[in-house]
């Protein structure tokens, strides 16, 4: 270039800051959102730390093997509550897993756009939103009213309904993680849809389905409201499924609201057990599904 043309400067100085109001607003909102996030994390750590400290200091071997001591006397444990939770959750899983897994398969593998599928998916989502206390009321109306007494059956029935939507959703999600090519490969070999599902898709999705069931189990184990007036509580070991049954969750509720320090300590210990179960399974599920339920 022989001729130097004077550069036309940009009309505006690029380093001139924007209006104070705009930049203050921006910084203020950033600070606010950081504070909000801390707000959420502080309670989480507070709950974890308290349960860990209080729970561990109250934990001993007797807790797993002994029955509750008579009110006011120190010592004793809540072996029967652990037993009750295990039995009721197992019973619930026994009912819930077949229905839940089959429904999950149906949602994932059959005509995804049909009207019926829409209804089912809608129903599952709505069921997931029904308060657990209402599920307890329902179980009371069905099982307790029929048997004429509080029972492990009633508690298990309530927990089964509670687990159902979780199992359906996790099963559907686990199946969706299976690559589409696998289905095409099987169908391409002449297998029909059922064969493809039963021999290829479901076996491949088993780890995911089991994780989903575990997730449902851990949520059910922590549920209190549906057990309060279905399984009630008991001071003794279980002799029959047709009588009131203790559970860890109801134990925490009962003991937390007593004035006895010894019982409060048992509540913390039971919380530690529940929290441990729930957190381990939730973290495992997170790694399997890479999303939450």
């Amino acid at each position: 270039m022989t001729t130097t043309i004077p550069q036309q400067p940009v009309k505006e100085d690029l380093t001139k800051p924007i209006e104070t109001g705009r930049s203050v607003f921006d910084s203020a909102m950033t600070v606010l959102s950081i504070v909000f996030t801390l707000f959420a994390i502080v309670p989480l750590f507070s709950v974890l730390i308290y349960v860990l400290i209080q729970g561990f200091s109250s934990l001993d071997f007797d807790i797993f093997t002994e029955l509750p001591a008579p009110t006011g006397t120190p010592g004793g444990g809540f072996g029967n509550a652990i037993q009750g939770t295990l039995i009721m959750v197992s019973f619930a899983a026994l009912i819930s897993v077949p229905f839940g897994v089959l429904t999950g398969i149906f949602l994932s593998e059959y005509a995804r756009d049909s009207q019926f599928i829409q209804v089912v998916r809608f129903g599952v989502n709505v069921l997931a939103g029904v308060p657990s206390i209402v599920i307890g009321v329902f179980a009371y109306g069905v099982v307790v009213a029929a048997f004429g007494s509080f029972s492990a059956y009633a508690g298990g029935f309530a927990l089964a309904i509670l687990m159902l939507p979780i199992i359906v959703r996790t099963t559907e999600e686990a199946l969706k993680l299976i690559p589409w090519e696998l289905r095409l490969g099987s169908l391409g070999l002449g297998a029909n849809r059922f064969n493809t599902i039963a021999r290829v898709i479901v076996p491949a999705a088993i780890p995911g389905i089991i994780t989903g069931v575990m997730l449902a189990v851990s949520r059910a184990a922590g549920e209190t409201a549906p057990l309060l007036f279905t399984a009630l509580f008991s001071q003794y070991w279980i002799e029959s499924l047709n009588q009131p049954t203790a559970s860890l969750a109801v134990l925490i509720f009962n003991y937390a609201t007593t004035p006895y320090v010894d019982l409060q300590r048992k509540a913390w210990a039971a919380s530690l057990l529940l929290l441990f179960l729930v957190l381990v399974i939730s973290i495992a599920a997170r790694f399997v599904f890479r999303r939450r339920f």
Partner: protein, 267 residues
């Protein structure tokens, strides 16, 4: 300076908008562009062509610093806009981007009314004048006023792709930028809509500096006065092979690689 236009030197007799010196661009630690030296003329259309992955979009996104809004990037060297270093830490990004508008590959109107789309920028900057008038004039500049004047309050998402893209151009024009960056603005459009955008570019040429990335060489030939050819070598790092007046690049390229690309002998 010599009389002849060197590689990377384009005809800046109308004035220089961008002056890029020894520019290198990194995504994280991965180098995407290396040793870019070029002057981009003001008040004219400069096309950037080259095979995919040659860094032409990356280069464009470094000119209004939108690249750093997407991921972590680093830029070495210097980019000046009308004599101001845009990577000076003191530069206010908001002000820079107001002066350097951008039109994206796929039309991206906001999910709001046509009017609100155009008024978005002015409102953000606290525009004091007659907003109706500004919206109308912006839409007119973008050749879309006639089509939308009766439905300014309806959603911009109801328009066709070509109309949406012109809305996006009008939206940029409403804040009165000095430069308009266009990142393959017609790649998602049909031929007729493309033609409209090209006419629009031609009419805007007098008013502002336009830099357009395109994979369509005919388009570069039709709309631009100057062309930059980007390429990658085996290291996958993009670089500027050659730049100059569009006619020269198309009819007498100095570099063999440019010639191969222009004539379609490119791999």
């Amino acid at each position: 300076m010599s009389n002849e236009l060197q590689a990377g030197q384009v005809d800046t007799s109308v004035g220089t908008a961008y002056k890029v010196r020894d520019m290198a661009f990194f995504y994280g630690t991965k180098k995407a562009l290396d040793s870019i030296n070029v002057d981009i003329p003001a008040k004219s259309v400069t096309a950037i062509i080259g095979p995919s992955g040659c860094g032409k979009s990356t280069f464009l996104k470094s000119l209004n610093r939108i690249a750093e809004a997407e991921t972590k990037v680093r830029i070495d060297g210097q980019i000046e806009l009308f004599g101001q270093n845009i990577y000076d830490p003191k530069v206010n990004l908001t002000r820079l981007r107001k002066n350097v508008g951008m039109v994206f590959q796929r039309p991206n109107p906001f999910p709001m009314s046509i009017f609100d789309n155009i008024a978005y920028g002015p409102r953000v900057f606290g525009f004091k004048g007659d907003l109706n008038e500004l919206v109308e004039s912006s839409l007119k500049k973008a050749f879309i006023w006639k089509e939308v004047q009766d439905k300014l309050r309806t959603s911009a998402l109801g328009l066709s792709g070509g109309q949406q893209q012109r809305i996006c151009i009008a939206r940029s024009l409403a804040v009165n930028p000095e430069v308009l960056l266009m990142d393959e603005p017609c790649s998602a459009l049909d031929p007729i809509a493309t033609l409209r955008i090209e006419e629009l570019i031609a009419s805007l040429r007098e008013q502002l500096t336009i830099i357009i990335v395109t994979h369509n060489m005919q388009q570069a030939g039709r709309v631009s006065q100057n062309t930059l050819f980007f390429n990658t070598d085996e290291t996958r790092i993009g670089n500027l092979v050659e730049g100059g007046p569009t006619k020269e690049i198309f009819f007498s390229p100095k570099d063999k690689r440019t010639e191969d690309y222009i004539t379609g002998r490119f791999g």
